[in-house]
Symmetry: C2
Subunit: 388 residues, 2 copies
């Protein structure tokens, strides 16, 4: 389809867990893409009801010379299905087909399919190999790279999971042509993220090329995916298990996860919540005196041009655990929007002893993790969210 874009490879360097990210056109249905996988009798393609009719048969055909039997599981589409119940459909299929410990799982779809297939691969018989075949921009630039796998718990996003690296990530840029506009914008949120945290040249480039990206220009998409993966690879290679540096990839995610959980998973797309979360995190960075208003305005404008929400929503009081909101004013007081945001953020994985940690911008292309006074965070929430 876009054979004019030569394929690129970005290596994730993790010792004996190293693997390549292939980026290019016409990769998904080329048998050569999968030729170097270890021998196995069976493969299981995990996909969703939206992606399956577009690409499942093409992937199966490409795998036919490699595996004696190829099974398929089609999950319901959307973040709302990133649950144990849906995950169990993968285990049911593996066991019903007597799949052994060498069976290779293929995650064909977006971030939800990738995260669930990865966790299923990490857990089935305590670990089987898997390959990521991300078909959304968000999954190509973020969720399918780096080995974070998980499902959601009603009380928190990605709370149950594993660090588990794939054998390979196959980013077929052609699949981005079939992406719904809303998914394209959601993916651009994670692309934009890499600018302020790591690379101002890339930030400038995204600003200059946002219209080409929205028009899915193949060369622009190729650069955006490659540069995003390079930055992510550099961070992950230094901190695979998220003890320090890797947290900067969570810029916008502390507020973003609160939005996702606080509206009910699936209401906003993950990328939409991250886009809006970056506006809030930039606002917090400014209130902490770390960046000036110009950068916040610039980032906010770019997020808006990408088609993403820049105003936070009112969250649902019923979304938090009973008694989790410490209002400090007795249980009879009605919870404010900021109370609900704070309650969600206190169970964020970066939190320590109930103290919320935020990824802030503290210089040009530099991010760090720090706490902030609750009162200041409330100001951010009140300033960045639409009133009731």
């Amino acid at each position: 389809m876009h054979a004019s874009i030569p394929p690129n490879t970005v290596e994730i360097d993790l010792g004996d867990r190293s693997y390549p990210i292939l980026i290019g056109g016409s990769l998904l249905d080329a048998p050569t893409t999968y030729a170097d996988l270890p021998p196995a009798t069976a493969a299981l393609v995990v996909t969703n009801s939206t992606v399956s009719p577009l690409y499942a048969q093409r992937l199966r055909t490409a795998l036919q010379g490699k595996f004696r039997s190829i099974h398929t599981v089609v999950l319901s589409d959307g973040e709302a299905h990133k649950t144990w119940q849906t995950l169990n459909l993968i285990f049911d299929s593996l066991l019903a087909h007597e799949c052994d410990r060498k069976t290779v799982l293929f995650a064909l779809g977006g971030g939800v399919v990738g995260d669930m297939t990865g966790f299923a691969a990490a857990s089935y018989m305590r670990g089987v190999p898997f390959v990521q075949v991300p078909t959304t921009l968000l999954a190509q630039v973020d969720s399918s790279v780096g080995g974070k796998t998980a499902i959601n718990h009603p009380l928190g996003k990605n709370m149950i999971g594993a660090f588990y690296q794939p054998l390979k990530v196959v980013c077929d840029l052609d699949t981005l042509q079939t992406l719904p506009p809303r998914e394209l914008s959601a993916g651009l949120a994670e692309v934009i993220k890499y600018g302020p945290i790591a690379d101002l040249v890339f930030f400038d480039w995204i600003e200059a090329n946002i219209d080409r990206l929205l028009a899915r220009d193949p060369a622009a998409m190729a650069h955006a995916v490659k540069r995003s993966c390079e930055i992510k690879a550099w961070v992950v290679a230094q901190d695979e298990r998220d003890y320090g540096l890797r947290a900067i990839l969570n810029f916008g995610h502390t507020f973003g996860h609160a939005i996702e959980a606080g509206l009910g998973f699936g209401e906003w797309l993950h990328g939409e919540a991250v886009g809006c979360g970056m506006v809030m995190a930039a606002n917090l960075s400014q209130r902490l005196g770390l960046v000036d208003a110009a950068l916040v305005r610039r980032l906010t404008a770019l997020i808006q041009r990408a088609g993403l929400p820049i105003r936070g929503p009112q969250l649902l009081a019923g979304s938090i655990a009973h008694g989790a909101a410490q209002t400090g004013a007795g249980s009879s007081r009605k919870l404010s929007n900021a109370d609900i945001y704070l309650a969600h953020m206190r169970v964020d994985k970066k939190a320590e002893a109930g103290e919320i940690k935020f990824v802030v911008i503290d210089g040009p292309a530099r991010a760090s993790v720090r706490s902030a006074p609750d009162a200041l965070v409330r100001e951010v929430i009140d300033a960045c969210c639409d009133g009731r």
Copy 2:
């Protein structure tokens, strides 16, 4: 209680995942046992309804100086509860209490509690630290050592899990005094296992001391636990992730897991199924010409003296996946007992491409893993199981 037995330490040597197994009396409620754990705000004690009234408060008291808040989750007792639904109670509690990524989980109970707590620790926020405090003989000599964690799937035992090592294993021998006789016998199955696969001197010692063990003589128990842990530590250090040698620890488990799944989890105790499974695996070894009848008789007699079943049960046809039994005679033929055993064993984790792998004894204190003709396995099942 038995202060005359000095505490021992067996080290599991796994690089940066190394940890000690403490073995002795009066360990569980000594604050010094836990003094070297990393600092954390919260601890979560996971136990079951049988063990909780005996030991939970004593453990909590011992932990009080170390953790600001100590929560407890009490699970239903038994293998039938080694399910996702029960596992989720641990996640619910962690999230309801806003437990962060440094929270230490304590598994206080037998193998089921240990396996589930370990898998919860492996998965909560993609990994939090945990400590095993096994209170059954089986857990002290086997399941709490070596980092295999899992839950069951209706179609197979321990099918969903992780390799995840604890910070420490605390084997308080005093807890064995409160063990029901059936649990004591089940634990002896895993003790006996170490003889034929690794140590004929230990095999001789168990034979000579089986009455002392059944009488819970503290010195005999101390030796049995220590020697079992030493052998397991030696095997696990060479093959943490079960690529080869470690499979010998599964002697009796291929048949045993079929018994557990085929009767419904919890009907037979795991150790009972392993005891009977060892009789069947020894019988297979003899039919393969690897050992003589004398060793099979000797092992069978010891298993019987330990109070364990030596005749296999008839399994339930409804326990296998629809269509899983390849009877080779059309779907209308009634499934034989051997058909059902074989169907369960084909999804064993050691199986490859539908070929079942058995741990066999092929010399004095030497075990290996190999396949066997279905016809021969059917002979073993028919010879070792009671008729309908």
